[in-house]
Symmetry: C2
Subunit: 423 residues, 2 copies
């Protein structure tokens, strides 16, 4: 199946693990069978490949996430890069044009659109495959997935189907209701709208051409910044009469806040943590190298990263946003296509980082207005190219670049180095 | 007055702020009038100098604390360095010999011995001055300070005086009692034993010569390791008949555990901290550069340093010791005579530190078995001496030392540098 994963923007609801450049879907928090940790996007991608080995996955996202995606998923995944954020309709239109013009997908092929971060089991992706097959049959222009509600949630939109069959025509959509109204909806057979739908590529391409003046993918990409922000729901779904919904009864969780995230964790702690016997319902997610000791706490989440420390009563952790929105916190960690870096020290006039490069990782840059940039290779082997001249580097080597120097480094093995820039 | 401050050993009761080399008395936690923070030892030293500008202060401590003492108090303070820890009687004997043989204090001069870390007001030091005067008068061989109890504590030893006068003969001493027994003692007029006493120098010198075979300070210092561990109470006080006690009625606190320490703090937070409105009785002591966000907590202490994070219910924080005793945590921060260092990164085969030198600070060393040692000067100016050859250094300069190189650095201004050692 052709699947487009919508990879949402940055956000601080999972601060201090998520930040302005690290979205929650890239946090490695789920333990795999091998004991390693994987991120939401890695988990979803692994599940898709397991359920349908022939899946073609395209991630619709912004430039800022491209490095992290390549770093976490490799280069086999397609990426439809949004030059800026313009809500879901322009994003889906661009990804659809990308599939058609760049990847050569035919207009009568089905495309499934899905968020990048549902916390689900394999049956969910099997259902996506059914959704793709339904869209390909073409009985409706849009085929949605409706999730059987497990409680009258106020957090989700609702889909009201005509009947109770597995696949049904949609009668109407409802915005997030109060709990009381949600109960009524559920009594009428309503389903949660999980933001998943399938269509024949040509359908969305036609809608895009009706609403946006563009010739092809390149043209749409070039004028992306000029597009109006509008959601797919407002631009397409609300005006479409031919919509079907397929019921899904399996596990489905939206892990957008700390309280929902820790519920999904297999173990109460991740990273170095010590809890005394008097702790009850305490969760620790610690990305630091040093231990967190918890004593006598009840219903508390502790999360520590290089960017800060959260200590919150579990329910209140969902209300973190206003407190962290105004934090003017420099980025202390980032994933890059070549690996990752950590900021070790910042003071007026200088910055020191640790760079961990993957074997095969490559980076290139040029010294701007700085007194000096110094690399000390800690481990591994590579080839540095300084003003076009290549030289081998290994643990213990020191390289110093003057202003204006162009420099590059290719890691032949996994390679770590300390970079100090003095301005 | 001659005052000997006993500076106790390391301890982890205030982990993660105290560690194997940073004792609690050096943690800068008390806000001064200028808005800076000072440590217990700085606070006590400042108070002594204020109450009696002619005080001569000698700190009895181990080698490991000498750098921190010079760094925090400057070079005017005397230090009686214990070659190893041998409990209070050998320590006081050594300090007394030091005063006599090195500092030329006469045998009939009074000496006051006091712990380095009482949390008290100026009146306490005025009382020490009175204690010194009483000792000098010589009505008793030992003159103790007895603190008027404010509750029947189980944490302190008790002194039972003969009468209720301001200065009285001691009838007997009592070990730490139960609360019930403490109530009885207090009804009999008992006082807390705060570990403070005064004597004429010759008295303790004589007792030392009776109990230890030594000629002078140098001889005692040389054989210090062979001495038996014994407390001053067991070695001297228990056998002495001529003991007076002077009552002290002012504030006196022993800030040995987190719960007592946070009570003494002027403000609920130190360092970067955000508490939401639902927090009640929450204390944050954060030595890191990144913020701690607390939400919905009650009666909780959060303390964060480069060595770890403590999150504890307040009362339980006094029971931290068994949990941190077995933590095998590398030292991430230390004070040196020339300034301080922070460990930024440790990986197999390398270590990266940030060194902050004070203006005038000097260090010297030699490269041992290492592939390279690299300095990148971040700020400030100094003179580096490499294999005996001096050169000026400034921000942006890079120095790389091979194995066997002897190197030194004198900071002419405050100077920061990054040091990376690859083994």
């Amino acid at each position: 199946m052709q699947i487009v994963l919508l990879s949402g923007g940055s956000g601080k609801r999972l601060w201090p693990l998520s930040n302005d450049i690290r979205s929650k879907q890239f946090i490695k928090i789920f333990k795999t069978e091998t004991g390693d940790y994987e991120s939401m996007v890695q988990r979803v991608y692994r599940q898709i490949c397991k359920v349908d080995a022939n899946s073609k996955v395209t991630i619709a996202t912004s430039e800022t996430q491209v490095s992290a995606i390549h770093n976490q998923l490799g280069n086999a995944v397609g990426i439809s890069v949004e030059p800026c954020r313009r809500d879901t309709f322009p994003a889906i239109a661009l990804a659809t044009a990308y599939l058609h013009d760049v990847m050569g997908v035919r207009e009568d092929e089905a495309v499934v659109v899905c968020p990048v971060d549902p916390y689900v089991e394999d049956d969910y992706f099997a259902a996506l495959k059914q959704l793709s097959d339904l869209a390909e049959k073409g009985t409706a222009n849009l085929t949605l997935m409706g999730i059987e509600p497990t409680y009258p949630s106020e957090k989700y939109g609702y889909i009201i189907p005509e009947g109770k069959e597995q696949v049904s025509v949609v009668r109407t959509f409802k915005e997030k209701p109060t709990e009381e109204v949600a109960k009524q909806y559920i009594a009428e057979g309503a389903l949660w709208n999980g933001g998943v739908f399938a269509y024949k590529l040509g359908y969305v391409l036609n809608r895009a051409h009706e609403l946006i003046d563009f010739t092809d993918y390149n043209d749409l990409f070039a004028k992306y910044e000029t597009l109006t922000k509008i959601s797919f729901d407002y631009a397409v779904v609300e005006h479409e009469k031919s919509i079907a919904v397929m019921r899904f009864r399996g596990q489905w969780k939206d892990l957008g806040t700390w309280n929902t995230l820790v519920e999904a964790m297999d173990e109460p702690t991740m990273g170095k943590a010590i809890l005394n016997d008097q702790c009850q319902n305490v969760h620790v997610i610690n990305e630091l190298d040093v231990p967190v000791l918890c004593m006598g706490l009840k219903d508390v989440i502790v999360s520590a990263s290089a960017e800060g420390i959260l200590v919150s009563e579990i329910e209140q952790s969902s209300a973190i946003k206003p407190y962290v929105d105004h934090l003017d916190q420099p980025i202390m960690f980032a994933e890059k296509s070549w690996g990752e870096y950590h900021v070790l020290d910042v003071q007026s006039g200088s910055k020191t980082l640790k760079l961990n490069m993957k074997a095969g990782g490559q980076m290139d840059s040029q010294c701007q207005a700085e007194k000096s940039r110094v690399w000390t290779i800690l481990s591994g082997e590579g080839v540095a190219t300084i003003n076009g001249k290549a030289q081998s580097v290994k643990a213990g080597d020191v390289l110093s670049f003057a202003q204006g120097t162009s420099y590059g480094l290719t890691a032949q093995t996994a390679l770590s180095l300390i970079e100090t820039v003095v301005f």
